[in-house]
């Protein structure tokens, strides 16, 4: 089947990949661009491990053909922080034991990042509703919620300090 050149911006860098129409975005990100942060969990859009940010919105990259991301701006967990310079959310997950096995964590943090962009001062309920598309099989939700609320408080405090 005819392959196509797909041009997209991933974590700030313009990328061109060649893919068949049937290739899902998650596999193109992982296998062709080496972005292995987004995970394949259920592959049926239930679990949210594949969550990435596309044009400023959280989406499930296992339920989208790569060809549909033509021209899109994509952010994965790799674009949020690095091992040397963790994002506030990554620090907070580490601090509050927001992960056990860690499989859901990249999707959790990518979604949480967008949630805090949309709602910088969420209540616990806002966080629980906003994170409903991300499943943790270790069922560590308590600490995940705590991590996100703590990161929000820290981000708001540093914003105030900067003003």
């Amino acid at each position: 089947m005819t392959k196509q050149i797909i041009k997209m911006t991933v974590n700030g860098e313009v990328q061109e990949v060649i893919a068949e129409p049937r290739e899902l975005l998650i596999y193109v990100l992982r296998e062709k661009l080496g972005m292995t942060g987004p995970h394949v969990g259920c592959e049926t859009s239930h679990c949210g491990a594949c969550t990435v940010d596309i044009d400023g919105k959280s989406v499930k990259s296992c339920t989208m053909f790569a060809a549909q991301a033509q021209g899109a701006e994509i952010t994965t967990i790799e674009g949020l922080g690095s091992p040397d310079a963790l994002h506030v959310l990554q620090e907070s997950f580490k601090e509050h034991h927001g992960l056990q096995c860690g499989y859901c964590t990249p999707g959790m943090i990518t979604r949480a990042h967008r949630l805090l962009e949309e709602n910088p001062d969420p209540t616990e309920e806002d966080v629980r509703i906003g994170m409903a598309g991300n499943i943790c099989r270790c069922t560590g939700y308590q600490n995940i919620v705590k991590s996100i609320l703590s990161a929000a408080a820290e981000m708001n405090a540093s914003k105030e300090a900067a003003q």
Binding site: M1, P21, S45, G48, M64, A67, Q68, R128
Partner: protein, 330 residues
């Protein structure tokens, strides 16, 4: 997944002619239902026609006469958080936010929601018989796991429940579906858009293969400002409804002046009962009136072994929602 050709449509006309040219093509917008069904081999289109580039179709236009025109490509999120929808038709917003999750609502479109497939366990299972997937093969839900299935509008061929949340609200509001085909534009009343299974459960919509949904018009209804959507399910997030209620209420003193009521996940299509609404109009706004309407709503319901509980659950939910709307109206 099987191989297919991707076509990007730049105009409505191009989408319609691509559909006309390819009898086994499917349109793709958000893809949240279609992509899953393609992974499972239930949908095997030869061509996918990507309509995300049809620029004008994602507009939400609130008109002076109180109506709102929702472009077919509007995302579920954009509709749910639209200020005019929230103030004029809160039941639409409530219904959307009760369904799926943020990621899926960002991707899913309104036109796609109208066409979403049923969630009967046997539909995607190639080892099971299903008259929707394979006409004439039989129905394993009849005497199988039918807890989620319908009790109204069923036939001896199919008992799958319609799964949509927002379609229940749109049914209550008498929305109009606008489509474009080779012959031009056509407007379809919401009540006629989804078809009862009867002897042809695979024929689900009043929509030709080469017709494109362009918009959903919600006619002005001032008292729908007092409306809501209640969804009851096995867990409080990310689950399909066991039963759901979309209702609007207008009082004249202690009397019901006007009312809209639709119930979801109990019918093979989003369900409405003229008899139940008539029983409330002009009657005292009391639990007894609401309860009587609920009885009328489910006259003729046909439960199977696993789903009879839905009838009592829905009746009580109707009374609860009407009581809530009564308090809000006062």
């Amino acid at each position: 997944m099987h191989e297919f050709t991707l076509i990007r449509a730049e105009t409505d006309e191009a989408a319609v002619s691509a559909l006309t040219a390819h009898p086994d093509a499917r349109l793709i917008a958000g893809g949240t239902n279609l992509v899953d069904l393609m992974k499972e081999g239930v949908e095997t289109p030869t061509h996918l026609i990507d309509i995300n580039g049809l620029g004008d179709l994602d507009r939400i236009e609130a008109r002076a006469d109180g109506s709102i025109m929702i472009g077919a490509l509007s995302s579920n999120s954009s509709v749910a958080w639209n200020a005019d929808i929230q103030s004029r038709f809160p039941m639409i917003s409530d219904a959307i936010l009760a369904g799926a999750t943020t990621q899926l609502r960002n991707m899913a479109t309104m036109g796609g929601n109208l066409l979403q497939k049923n969630r009967c366990f046997y539909y995607p299972d190639h080892n099971a018989r299903c008259n929707k997937r394979e006409p004439g093969s039989g129905c394993d839900a009849m005497d199988g796991v039918n807890r989620m299935c319908a009790v109204l509008g069923t036939s001896d061929q199919c008992i799958a429940a319609h799964p949509s949340d927002v379609c229940v609200a749109l049914r209550a509001l008498d929305a109009i579906v606008h489509v474009k085909g080779v012959e031009g534009h056509r407007a379809i009343e919401f009540a006629d858009f989804h078809k009862l299974p009867g002897g042809t459960p695979h024929v689900e919509f009043d929509l030709a293969h080469n017709e494109l949904i362009t918009g959903i018009e919600v006619p002005g209804l001032p008292f729908a400002a007092n409306s809501t959507y209640l969804k009851l399910r096995d867990r409080t997030s990310y689950a399909f409804a066991l039963v759901s209620i979309a209702a609007a209420l207008k009082l004249d003193g202690d009397t019901v002046d006007d009312v809209r009521l639709a119930v979801g996940s109990v019918g093979t299509v989003p369900w409405r009962s003229a008899g139940a609404e008539d029983a409330m109009r002009g009657a005292p706004a009391t639990a007894a009136t609401f309860s009587k309407a609920a009885e009328i709503f489910f006259e003729g319901a046909k439960p199977r072994a696993g789903n009879g509980f839905k009838i009592e659950l829905a009746k009580r939910a109707i009374v609860r929602v009407m009581e809530t709307l009564k308090e809000q109206a006062a």
